[in-house]
């Protein structure tokens, strides 16, 4: 019994000493770190917006958006501080966006991605592909930006969060709106559209009649089933209900949801396949 007590006390003493030391060091380094981070952020602001005079901060969906103004009070752009879940922990980065809703800079503030693999997101090569991309661009892997094989999760997280932040900035601060897809004057009939997914094509068949989308059917898909059930049939239902393609796709399966939407869009952009569908269902 006395032994146990002795052991516990020893351990406790060691732990207390350790805690004391850590507290001391923390007190010394914390202000330095915070100060440096603030300095770095201001430096970044100045780098991306040389004429900066002041900025005001807004928070949307957990991300911080700093609206940057020059001396005349003219809006210069927005600096977004975005947090996203990477492969291993949170990635925090700054996204500088000018008033044309174009990305003018990316700065990764902190991350814990695997060195040599996931930390590719900090490289110029990866970041440069976003520079100049604007609100209008799809920012879609395979279309105008690349997912890096071997670091799919890290780079994929970056791509989708950049798209999200850009949308938020465009719609909330820059009064931009996405061009709604017009389909009222399409011919009646069955339309088919295909997009490439990660593991293979996704094909939908859309029945359009009387100026409305009547049904949306998935003919073929190669999505991960566990994610796909989050997107289907929910997304087609919403499209039919709202009769527009700009539905909110923030489901548990963002990628699959987006693919369904773009497949429907592809379908309606093409010609109808006849009254009775493809015939090989």
């Amino acid at each position: 019994m006395r032994d146990v007590l002795r052991l516990s006390i020893t351990l406790a003493l060691v732990a207390i000493a350790s805690a004391a030391l850590l507290t001391g060091v923390y007190n010394v380094t914390e202000p330095v770190i915070r100060e440096r981070e603030e300095r770095d952020y201001l430096e970044a602001l100045e780098r991306f917006f040389p004429e900066i005079d002041q900025f005001e901060t807004e928070k949307i969906n957990g991300d911080t958006y700093d609206l940057v103004y020059d001396q005349a009070g003219e809006k210069l752009g927005v600096m977004a501080t975005v947090k996203t879940q990477g492969y291993d922990g949170t990635i925090t980065y700054n996204l500088a966006i000018n008033t044309d809703a174009e990305i003018i800079g990316i700065l990764v503030v902190s991350h814990t991605e695997t060195p040599g693999i996931g930390d590719i997101i900090t490289t110029d090569n990866f970041q440069e592909q976003f520079i100049g991309k604007s609100f209008e661009d799809p920012i879609e892997p395979g279309e105008d930006v690349d997912i890096v094989s071997g670091a799919t999760l890290s780079t994929g997280a970056m791509i989708s969060s950049i798209r999200r932040a850009l949308n938020t900035v465009g719609e909330n601060f820059l009064d931009m709106e996405r061009q709604a897809f017009e389909f009222e004057d399409l011919d009646d009939g069955f339309y088919r559209g295909t997009v490439d997914g990660t593991y293979g094509p996704l094909t939908v068949e859309v029945e359009f009649r009387d100026g409305r989308i009547q049904t949306i059917e998935i003919i073929e898909h190669n999505e991960t089933e566990a994610y796909f059930v989050d997107a289907y049939p929910e997304i087609p239902q919403r499209i039919i209900e709202e009769q527009k393609l700009e539905v909110d796709v923030e489901t548990g399966a963002t990628l699959s949801a987006e693919r369904i939407v773009s497949a429907v869009k592809n379908a309606l952009e093409g010609a109808p396949e006849g009254e009775n569908g493809g015939g090989d269902n």
Partner: protein, 209 residues
């Protein structure tokens, strides 16, 4: 070697004869993980060395105080404390290196070199000798990481003192197409394997045991 001077022996043993990387194959995780650039390799080596020296000294001085039943938890606490201290110091004063080393700094806690020295040496030997041993092994670790990182950086990136355009020196000019393999984790294994082979040949030639 000079067996009559234990301090010199402690120092040289960790650097050469019992080099933790090339001879004992310990602490492989950072060895393979952060040796893409020389500066990272050296930084990692020095960080680990600092923890090693500090923990060696502390453990050696506490060895009579700590009961054997709880020595491992105590060692871990001591080591973890110093790792956290180093991590905070790096974050405050060497942010670039802190960024580059990333997750490998906290992982120093489980680096078997450090716990190994604590268990095998510091908990049995006097403080001063433990200090010298910590310096020796730490230098050996840093040396090994430095050599591996140098090889990988030169062949994998064609630079020294990279990354980044400010400090990097292009060794072979702009036209050089580096062997990307060495920059990648898989290349770390191959480079380490080749270096182990070379050190074995050298050690055999000079009959160092």
């Amino acid at each position: 070697m000079s067996a009559n001077n234990p301090y010199l022996d402690d120092l040289s043993r960790g650097i050469i004869r019992e080099n933790p990387v090339f001879r004992l194959l310990l602490g492989m995780c950072p060895v393979l993980g952060v040796t893409g650039y020389l500066i990272n390799g050296l930084g990692m080596g020095l960080a680990a060395a600092a923890v090693l020296i500090a923990s060696n000294v502390v453990i050696a001085s506490l060895k009579n105080f700590i009961p054997p039943q709880v020595r491992i938890p105590c060692f871990i606490v001591v080591i973890a404390t110093f790792v956290t201290v180093i991590e905070m110091l790096l974050q405050a004063f060497q942010p670039a290196l802190y960024e580059a080393l990333g997750v490998f700094v906290p992982l120093i806690v489980v680096n078997c070199v450090i716990l190994g020295r604590a268990e095998a040496f510091a908990s049995k030997k006097p403080v001063l000798r433990s200090l010298v041993d910590g310096i020796g092994v730490g230098l050996g670790f840093t040396l090994a990481l430095g050599i591996l990182a140098l090889v990988r950086e030169v062949f994998g990136h064609g630079t020294i003192m990279g990354p980044g355009p400010d400090s990097a020196i292009l060794l072979f000019g702009e036209g050089f197409e580096p062997m990307a393999l060495f920059g990648q984790p898989a290349g770390a294994f191959i480079a380490l394997g080749l270096l182990l082979g070379i050190t074995n040949v050298i050690f055999k030639k000079f009959n160092i045991k």
